[in-house]
């Protein structure tokens, strides 16, 4: 991992200078703030729009609805942003020739890859934290306070799922010189994982399976199985990084 610290510093600076971090953090903040609002006011909006024409009885929204709205939005927008962040991370550098600039210096290819993925994970982590903070605060204002530690732990699991989507796209970006091909792999994986997630036996060990324990933690439910899904996703990310490294260290630039 020669040069890892130097490259990580460069990658984090790049996330900031190219406005990826501020933009993603802002989008996530909007998602975080809007989720409890949508949960709280959706029945009233439907009622106001429909007037007397609809006689739909909607249950009174709760803090759990606010969390579910957040989880749904992060699971969709968040995953899309994870794919967007990772799609060009290696492919674009190979295409533009900047990978050759760095890799003719004393920097190992492993360090080059891991620094990039850690920087993407950091952007997703900071943004998820901001979204979670905004969502927790508005849930507190509009409904009731949810357990803070559990909510934070749930956010960490949501972040882990986003990092897994980014890692899948990252492998695509490493294997090809096309950011679009990498994005295609990321989106395809998102769809396939969504379908496989329905199968109970394997679903709980996929990144999509992190949703249930994250919800349990956020709502303060007892007996939540966190360990299995978490270890499975961490192992998946590790395997994906290994695949990317094996492929990349044999590539000509």
């Amino acid at each position: 991992m020669t040069g890892f610290t130097v490259l990580l510093r460069k990658e984090l600076l790049e996330q900031w200078r190219t406005t990826r971090l501020p933009v993603v953090a802002t989008v996530f903040l909007l998602v975080g703030l809007s989720s409890p609002l949508l949960a709280r006011f959706t029945p009233e909006i439907i009622k106001a729009v429909g007037g007397d024409q609809f006689q739909i009885v909607l249950p009174t929204p709760t803090a759990a609805d606010a969390y579910d709205q957040l989880a749904k939005n992060l699971g969709q927008f968040g995953a899309l942003i994870a794919v967007l962040l990772a799609m060009g991370s290696v492919a674009t550098e190979k295409e533009r020739g900047t990978a050759a600039l760095i890799l003719t210096k004393p920097a190992s290819r492993g360090a080059f890859l891991v620094a990039k993925l850690v920087a993407i994970a950091t952007t997703l982590g900071v943004s998820t934290a901001i979204a979670a903070a905004g969502a927790w605060f508005y849930t507190f204002v509009l409904f009731e306070p949810l357990p803070l530690a559990g909510f934070a732990a749930g956010a960490i699991l949501q972040w882990l799922a986003l990092v897994a989507y980014a890692a899948i796209t990252f492998v695509g970006s490493t294997l090809t010189r096309s950011a679009l091909a990498a994005a295609g792999l990321g989106v395809a994986a998102f769809i396939v994982l969504g379908i496989l997630g329905i199968v109970p036996a394997i679903g709980r060990y996929l990144p999509t399976g992190l949703g249930a324990p994250a919800r349990g933690l956020a709502l303060g439910q007892p007996g939540v199985d966190v360990l299995g899904p978490t270890i499975a996703s961490v192992v998946l990310i590790g395997v994906l990084v290994g695949v990317a490294w094996i492929a990349f260290r044999r590539q000509e630039l």
Binding site: G97, K105, R250
Partner: protein, 344 residues
Amino acid sequence: MTTPVTSPMASAAMTAAAIETSGLTKRFGSILALDRLDLVVPRGSVFGLLGPNGAGKTTTIRILTGLARPTAGNAFVAGIEVGLDEPELRRRLGYLDQDPRFYGWMTGRELLELVGRLHGLAGSELRSRVDEMLARTGLTAAARRRIGGYSGGMRQRLGIAQALLHRPEILILDEPVSSLDPEGRRDLLELIAGLRGEATVVFSTHLLADVERICDRVAILDRGRLVTEGPLEELLAAHARPIYRLAPAPGQGATVASLVDRLRAAPWTTDVAAGDDLVRVTVSDPVAAAAGILPLVVAAGVALDSFERARQTLEDVFLELVGPATADDLDGRGFIRPREVSDR
């Protein structure tokens, strides 16, 4: 980290050769870009790598810098076998690409600081080296500007600065003067010449006058093959045949063609090369040629602007060894077509 593989001739190589290649071959499908290249670059030399477009110069450099993998053969730089993922080798190496690419969002100073840190420089030493290289390459005033706004020449100078920053023992430059103005070109050549004895410099170029000015050894490649290699003076001496240069006055196309035919028919000529405004006559018998050329000029009715007997230059040697490219030799981009080989 794995231990770098050292050359089988490690002890000799460590003292004598900065770079050595053995049977270095590179194929792209059926295209043979590099054909069993055996090359030894002595330590401390300024080594010119010459050849027409498509000769294999950049392919050689890409293998030496670990950006490409040879199909066969091997290469040792600073006694370490070249590989795609070999950070230890790159500590010893400075490299400038023929079309250097940088991060447009960085400033010039930030780029040099990044490169310096990768080479293990820090603190006041890093700052002083960066300041020194910015000054030497004339980029001090632009140091805090984003590289995205740099001109081609400024990017080239930044590339030179990053290649020299850590004072490498081996410096590999691919077409280093291609985007520089005359002043920048002169400064870079002086910079390279000043490294003689301190570092080994390998650079590829089309500009033979530059090579003649600063190189002590040259290698000429053509279609992936090494045509010749050796000390510049020995190369010039080995091919030292008298040359006469005739510059006909403009507008005499037909009569000049007649003169060329007459010269070719003369028993004392070995080669006659005719360009738009110059006829170059290589001779085997200088005494007979001195007496015979001007009568042929008069007989052909050609008026001359100048006539001189000249020492053979590197360009003359290059043209003699490689020969001018014909239209059939060139591809659509103006590159010499590489040789195609059947799949074995």
